[in-house]
Symmetry: C2
């Protein structure tokens, strides 16, 4: 347990305290963040040096005090009601837990998830999007060159197989055979795992930009991709709203600044309309990515100051609220990282509209219950459920 | 380089020599397998003891000499022609290489892959299959309990994230930042990777059986699943026919022996009809899984003797032939492994019909070329291409 206090001219407001705890939580096991006699006091359970923690806390404070919660859209259905649908979905067998952060899906859950994707494909088609598919594994350089491992070490996952020699494979084979009781495979020499040359995809769009690397003729274009994405995290409570592996549909724009900004406005309207059609109680507001508490953290300031990220936040039930989608503007981050330009030498901009398919599906079940027949006709129609 | 010779009453025929080389190649870097003055001589590039190699070679010999190539179906279209479509697909941008064994798909490749899946879903629907979806990551015990790590260490892959402490994450963050030149992340202490609690799915059906574990009321049932699967291998030549990550559609049957065997017969007919409708030059023949050269190897004998596995093998062009699908009978392997029974205490049987979606798609492009408009009308109709 390590504790750091930072003296303050006046106590922090509750929202800032919450922000500090949330941001610090990306990198540390936070015990508490409170206003105290010595100023703001943060306590973590990590075995970390005082100096390390102090440095991080000072950075986080600077970021947290400048985050603005700009809300650009709010939808409050008059007849709204919501309750947690997870237990009922599990009882029906439509959602089955495989392990922490991992679920199998079937029945009505799969029906709605598929219907939502068809709806999103319709939006993509109106933008003339070209459909692409990527594998869930990407070569390490794809993520290295956009600094993903540096900015999000807490979320990254790599894929490793056993070395090719007979001795390593035989040893692995014996160590993890049936009856061995193995529940985890240590990344140490005795398991003979070869260096990982691929990482698990953290999102679906990065390959779009990577495939443009070194090109000098990038024109305005729109892509759409559906795929599996992975995060090294899971809900402690086994909830459906934080998964280690989930699916995502994205609509991606690449091109001149004017093109990407104009599309972004239309995609923001698309997002509002989607929320309204589905009858969600929600907001669309400025947000920031969960950057790690090193120098990457400063990017949060840039993100919110420039409103680079909006999140579609949905109330599930009570005061439980989750982000089910986001609208991101990357400026020229990817074209600089992967070195591609337009024909006239300019750095293309890019942006994406992303929906977390399981979260949005879960939100609909919390809103309307398990019996699809009883869902309001307008919602059934928009999802083509009949 | 290690060499082992085994004396023989008479030289092995060419097919058996090939089988020995193929099976040995699952576990060793094989330099050559030939008939020589001292009998059959196998040479491998691995740094392995003579005794180890000799033991493995004797086992492989025993297996190889008993493999039978029983062919239950053969389809030879009269007007057949085929040529490698990969370069043309890449030139059109419909297939883009991301790295060894990893490709991005778009355009007509994605159109055909989707159309094939719709066709397979139709077959599944005729069997009354219930659709399920699994994440591409599975908890280690799912594979441990069916002895996957023991039987296929050469194919297994695990997913690892960084330890939760700040020090490990900071170090990882610095080591693999942009400009670091990292192309691989070693599974050693300095990268701070936590023990892997999940493995990458090697197939799509195992979770079906795992979710039945400990149940005492398993009834006859049919499932269908589409998902991403992973193998720790890649084509040396960067060919589309051996991928590290690909998609698979399966139709899975679970129930009494009579139910599973009867469904298997129908699924075999479905597979024949599929091959005919698509105009493939192909065979359906007895096959065996690539078991590792330890005691798992003996399972090959059991498989072929009992005809537990049939493969749909398609000629792409010249004498290049690949397996695009398989029909597997597991007997009660899964119900014993995961301990589930029917209501009357019997061990359910299971079986599956599996199609490798990218391989079958690739086979169609080799057969009919890139221009979908020019494909024969019957094939276009069955794929609903218009």
């Amino acid at each position: 347990m390590v504790q750091v206090s930072v003296s303050m001219a006046r106590p922090l407001d509750d929202m800032t305290l919450e922000d500090v705890a949330r941001i610090l939580g990306r990198s540390f096991a936070v015990e508490g963040v409170v206003n105290g006699p010595d100023g703001m006091t943060a306590t973590v359970r990590d075995d970390v040096s005082y100096d390390h923690l102090r440095q991080a806390v000072v950075k986080v404070l600077r970021v947290a005090r400048h985050l603005t919660e700009e809300c650009v859209f709010s939808h409050e259905p008059t007849d709204w009601q919501g309750s947690d649908a997870q237990l009922a979905l599990e009882a029906a067998g439509d959602v089955q837990r495989l392990g922490p952060g991992l679920f199998a899906f079937g029945g009505s859950f799969l029906t709605v998830r598929g219907a939502l994707d068809t709806l999103l494909l319709g939006i993509a088609a109106r933008h003339g999007a070209k459909e692409l598919a990527y594998p869930p594994l990407w070569p390490i350089p794809v993520l290295r060159d956009i600094n993903y491992f540096h900015d999000f070490p807490q979320l990254a996952m790599v894929a490793a197989g056993v070395e090719t020699d007979f001795t390593s494979r035989s040893r692995f084979s014996e160590a993890h055979r049936r009856g061995s009781g193995s529940t985890a495979i240590a990344c140490t020499a005795e398991n003979g795992l070869a260096p990982a040359v691929n990482a698990l995809a953290p999102t679906v769009c990065d390959c779009c930009y990577w495939l443009l690397r070194d090109r000098r003729d990038v024109a305005d274009q729109v892509f759409t991709i559906h795929g599996h994405v992975f995060r090294n995290e899971a809900s402690d409570e086994g909830s459906l709203d934080r998964l280690s592996a989930f699916t995502m549909r994205e609509i991606v724009t690449v091109g001149t600044e004017a093109f990407v900004l104009a599309r972004r406005q239309v995609l923001l309207e698309d997002m509002k309309q989607l929320a309204q059609l589905l009858g969600l109680r929600c907001t669309i507001e400025a947000a920031d990515d969960p950057f790690f508490c090193n120098d990457a953290l400063q990017k949060n300031l840039l993100q919110t100051a420039a409103q680079l990220k909006y999140e579609l936040r949905v109330v599930l039930f009570g005061n439980r609220e989750i982000a089910v989608g986001s609208l991101n503007l990357h400026n020229d981050y990817f074209s600089k990282s992967y070195d591609y330009t337009t024909r006239d030498g300019a750095r293309p901009f890019s942006g994406c509209f992303a929906i977390g398919c399981e979260r949005l599906t879960y939100a609909l079940f919390c809103r309307y219950g398990l019996d699809l027949e009883q869902w309001p006709q307008p919602v059934r129609s928009v999802l083509r459920l009949g």
